[in-house]
């Protein structure tokens, strides 16, 4: 695959084993970093690469690293956020399952750059089978001298621990993740202070997504500038997109940023078009939390330019006519899909996953779910639709963590673009063949 950076050599049999991975150029980036670069060189290289957080927010990784409290004499921690629970997103799982050493390599280099002596991989509880894969890989790496004390005689020591969560979506929020890692209830913390100052056990901490950290190895190998040349504009490098829904070839694809959305959906190398020759109806381009877009707006922006797979292009037109790249969970709906039913399903998820700490999210997510349940089951009124818009507006931006926004955006955007469908579910229940009227 051209532009393959993260998933290089994934097709090699036995690449999960240390020896095979090493024979295919693995851990050369670690050697390069630890032998010939200072920690600040590594950070500078990552900053130059323009790498942005792949967990959804797209915050520049180099900048995030630079916030780490350097005056503190407390130990520093690197935490890898592997609590991938966003509906529609399954890229980290794929990466960890097939290329665990890519992640570990990235962790060693990142921890070296940050001066962290301990690294935790907080992995989603449902990914239990990955814990064994990762721990086996960590042990192998340990045995071969790339982990433990005084790695490659550089004086740098690192230990990596895998910590499974208990299956809460909210623990993917970085401060809730830290609370959970400390053994507490996974409630997001109130910021400030940010984890860079008071993170895990009150120490300076950096929390990064699996894909972000995995990209650090290739960045050091090829150099930050070379990485920055891949992609388009401020969206540099490659991105893993997990495509699902009514498409011919669902799966995880590594794309170069800047690929036209149309090519991604219809191109034979990617999704391969809509299943059974149906029409495209709508797409949620970045995991369930981001606004849904109808077919015309996902293929081209409101200005008529083709929509590209970049942070900027997908956000073009803000929320009125745009969406977000998010975590790259690309959910495609064909003409038969019912937007109301889908929106209800999503609100059901957010209601279940809200931590219940702050009132707008706790009450609002449940309220929206109840109303959408009624609309979907034929008991809605036209007023309910406006009420949903108002609830979503009252939640958005008024909560402790972004889960409130994540719950509000899908509802607000679905009504914005598919209002007629909601109205039909109220005025003509049963017209939509997916609607359950009982």
């Amino acid at each position: 695959m051209a532009g393959s950076v993260l998933l290089t050599n994934i097709e090699v049999p036995g690449i999960r084993d240390f020896a095979v991975y090493r024979a295919h150029g693995g851990y050369q980036a670690v050697e390069k970093a630890l032998r010939s670069m200072t920690p600040s060189d590594v950070s500078a290289e990552v900053t130059r690469s323009g790498l942005r957080g792949r967990g959804g927010a797209g915050f520049p990784t180099g900048l995030k690293w630079s916030f780490l409290d350097k005056r503190s004499d407390k130990p520093r921690y690197l935490v890898c956020n592997a609590d991938e629970s966003e509906p529609g997103t399954f890229k980290d799982r794929y990466l960890m399952q097939h290329l665990p050493h890519r992640l570990i390599e990235g962790l060693i280099i990142s921890a070296y750059a940050l001066g962290a002596g301990t690294c935790y991989i907080y992995i989603r509880g449902e990914f239990k089978y990955l814990v064994g894969i990762l721990e086996k890989a960590i042990n192998e790496t340990h045995r071969n001298g790339f982990l433990g004390s005084d790695i490659l005689g550089s004086g740098f020591s690192l230990n990596i621990f895998v910590h499974p969560g208990a299956g809460a979506y909210i623990c993917g929020e970085e401060t809730a993740l830290l609370e959970s890692l400390e053994g507490k209830r996974g409630n997001p913390r109130i910021k400030p202070p940010f984890p860079a100052f008071r993170g895990l056990y009150g120490c300076p901490t950096v929390v990064n997504n699996v894909e972000t950290l995995a990209a650090v190895g290739p960045i050091i190998s090829m150099g930050g500038d070379a990485y920055a040349r891949i992609g388009k504009g401020r969206s540099t490098g490659t991105k893993l997109i997990s495509a699902c829904g009514n498409i011919n070839k669902p799966g995880v694809y590594e794309i170069e940023m800047g690929l036209p959305v149309e090519e991604f959906i219809y191109g034979d190398r990617y999704c391969g078009g809509i299943r059974n020759g149906k029409y495209l109806k709508a797409v949620i381009p970045g995991g369930s939390s981001v606004p849904i877009l109808p077919a015309d707006l996902i293929l081209s922006t409101a200005k008529g330019e083709p929509r590209l797979m970049t942070y900027e292009s997908l956000a073009e037109g803000d929320f009125a006519t745009g969406s977000m790249l998010g975590s790259g969970g690309f959910i495609v709906f064909d003409e038969d899909a019912c937007i109301v039913r889908n929106t209800w399903n999503l609100t059901r998820f957010y209601r279940h996953e809200s931590c219940g700490q702050c009132s707008p999210c706790r009450e609002g997510t449940a309220w929206m779910e109840k109303i959408l349940y009624r609309i979907e089951h034929g008991g809605g009124t036209l007023k309910d639709i406006d009420l949903l818009v108002r609830i979503a507006r009252n939640i958005e931006g008024n909560t402790i963590c972004p889960l409130g926004d994540a719950a509000a955006w899908p509802v607000a955007s679905a009504i914005r673009h598919f209002r007629q469908e909601f109205e039909e579910h109220v005025t003509d229940p049963g017209k939509c063949r997916n609607q359950r009227t009982n």
Binding site: G356, S359, T365, N394, G397, N398, I400
Partner: protein, 322 residues
């Protein structure tokens, strides 16, 4: 010292102060309401979102506004900050939304609730609530439970402010209750039925902003506005012994901590003072407590409190009005 303005009123405060504390220094209408923040409980605040304010200017150095409304209880002040509370329609709108959310599952049982008359949520709904309900959804329901010999837990009324959790954490050695489950299924409980018994558990009642935790020794005895709050004290080995005795005639109906204008107790008191000393002879009664004129508690006997010289004995006043 740090200079900032809140609703165009300038104030100087020390570094590290939060916006809410700064507003409390000004006092009056600019003080954002707080349902979960409690200055005496470390870590409290940020949850109820009623104290949201708009920061129109972050600081003198960085004049950009903050992108979202911020919780004033947990946002530290910065020099040159411009804060908008009631002057911002956006804040008022958001606060109305929050009140709507808080009332969504809160039962309309004020007529039988012991907290009525001194309930923060009542005050808040009066200030920012809607005139009519917008929901037709059923409210969540729980059974009433006794957590210990003195405290009744009425989970239906709880707004999950976490104050009682922090109280138990910070005043007692062994917290037995906490928040179980999550989202709208979250509830306060002891998980396995347990009795909360320690010398300071009663303070959970004082910190509760609603009627979720009530005093079992006072349950259904009287409405609070029929009682006279009197400052009283006694020699106590466990606490300061300074309390408010809520009296009817010469009888003490209940004992609470002395609450200031923001509804926070001046000092936490022990269970012995609170629950076991209902005999007026056990106390040295200092005199009537200052109660805000606006409070429903002052409706009956306390109209003239601001001018102590005209306070007459209650019996005498009743004779004169007859």
């Amino acid at each position: 010292m740090i200079k900032l303005t809140i609703d165009n009123i300038p104030i100087e405060v020390e570094e590290g102060t939060t916006i809410l504390q700064a507003a409390r220094k000004i006092g009056g209408k600019v003080v954002p309401p707080a349902m979960c923040y409690y200055s005496k409980l470390k870590g409290s605040g940020g949850k109820c979102r009623t104290c949201l304010v708009k920061v129109a200017k972050s600081s003198a150095k960085d004049p950009r506004p903050m992108p979202k409304l911020v919780a004033s209880c947990s946002t530290p002040v910065q020099d040159g900050m411009v804060v908008e509370n009631l002057t911002s329609p956006e804040v008022v709108e958001a606060r109305k939304g929050v009140v709507e959310f808080l009332l969504l599952n809160h039962p309309l049982d004020c007529p039988v609730c012991d907290q009525a008359g001194e309930c923060d949520l009542q005050d808040l709904s009066y200030g920012f609530g809607m005139e009519q309900t917008t929901t037709e959804e059923e409210r969540r329901e729980f059974n009433e439970t006794d957590i210990g010999p003195f405290i009744k837990l009425h989970m239906n009324r709880c707004i999950l402010c976490y104050r009682c959790v922090y109280t138990a954490d910070q005043l007692t050695g062994n917290r037995l209750h906490g928040v179980l489950y999550r989202g709208d299924a979250a509830e306060i409980g002891t998980f396995i039925k347990n009795s909360i018994e320690n010398d300071f558990s009663g303070n959970m009642i004082d910190v509760c902003p609603v009627g979720a935790l009530t005093d079992r020794t006072f349950r259904f005895k009287s409405r609070v506005w029929f009682l006279k709050p009197m400052n009283a004290h006694r020699e106590c080995t466990k606490c300061s012994g300074k309390v408010t005795a809520w009296m009817f005639g010469n009888e003490i109906y209940r004992i609470t901590g002395r609450k200031d204008q923001f509804g926070e107790v001046e000092s936490f008191i022990c269970n012995e003072c609170r629950f076991e000393k209902k005999d007026p002879d056990a106390w040295i009664i200092e005199g009537p407590r200052q109660i805000s004129r606006k409070s429903v508690i002052s409706v009956n006997h306390y109209e003239t409190l601001k001018k102590p010289s005209v306070i007459r004995p209650i019996e005498g006043r009743m004779e004169s009005t007859d």
